[in-house]
Amino acid sequence: MTTLRPGFALPPRLQVIDAATMAAYAGATWDWFSIHLDAEAARRAGFLDAIVDGQMLGAILAAHAQDGAGPGVRVTAMTFRNTSAVYRGEMIRVTGSCTQVASGRATIEQDVHVIDPVTQRRVRAAVQGALTTIETAPAVTAPRGEP
């Protein structure tokens, strides 16, 4: 496991959220809300194109935090605010750094920006100042439920 310490910068994560990804996410979450899949429906709602479900960015933040912290960690809490839409086909960059480590837990502060895929310059912020808490020494999970 990566040795987390305040100031440690997690490797950035680049991801393009294309139509296939959005369709897969819709199926995986049983959410076929038309503004996430259909450009015309999204425009009628006031958007420029089909928009990425804002909660999907939460899942990506969790993946970024766990990947950056190394194997064996677990996300225990998250707070994120969606500041602008991400449109189908756009590239995002997730960045973050560790801000606190105490009592077996670490806090990661993260941002998500839409970036130009060629220049990789920031276009706009999609999430700013997200906080993800990870447990660096998770307890053993006992088996539950019917086998």
Partner: protein, 165 residues
């Protein structure tokens, strides 16, 4: 969008509860992980999960808060199958404000999940660019068939008038 203060006040405390018709299942873990591009092996591989201290594969952490699998509802005219508070006008534009999550023990394939949603805040607001919106804050508590806590989710949504045609 602007709703009457009495109407907003009257809906504070509304509760809706959904129990999934079946256990959440391993396939849902793999589907979600594939969709978001999360390759953590503890969601997919039993050997990796047990090596990490789990009894079995576990769910990607945010899946339980994101999935509508639990509701067993039919899609509406917009393809939406999740929970909708009665106060929300049918033609409102929904804008996600954000979420706060707290996770209990990891979700496992045999968990049959119940979510109880409560509407905790409903207010008329004006955005920085002068747009009138309604802010709704809801809290969802997710438990397994034994009542063990799996997750808690505070969700902020903003409702706006649809753009003029």
């Amino acid at each position: 969008m602007h709703l009457e203060p009495q109407e907003l006040a009257a809906c504070i405390g509304l509760v809706s509860t959904y129990t999934a018709p079946e256990p959440i299942g391993e396939a849902s873990f793999r589907y979600f992980a594939q969709a978001v591009g999360d390759r953590n092996p503890v969601y997919l591989d039993h050997a990796a999960a047990t090596a990490a201290g789990h009894a079995t594969v576990i769910a990607p952490p945010t899946l339980v808060c994101e999935t509508n699998q639990l509701t067993d509802r039919r899609p509406d005219a917009n393809g939406y199958v999740g929970h909708r508070w009665p106060i929300i006008p049918a033609d409102a534009t929904w804008i996600r404000g954000g979420n706060d999550y707290r996770f209990g023990r990891p979700v496992q394939p045999h968990d049959r999940i119940t979510v109880e949603w409560q509407l905790v805040r409903a207010e008329n607001r004006t955005t920085r660019d002068g747009r009138d919106v309604v802010m709704l804050v809801s809290e969802g508590t997710y438990t397994d068939q034994r009542g063990d806590l799996l997750a808690w989710n505070r969700e902020t949504l903003f409702l706006a008038d649809p753009p003029e045609a």
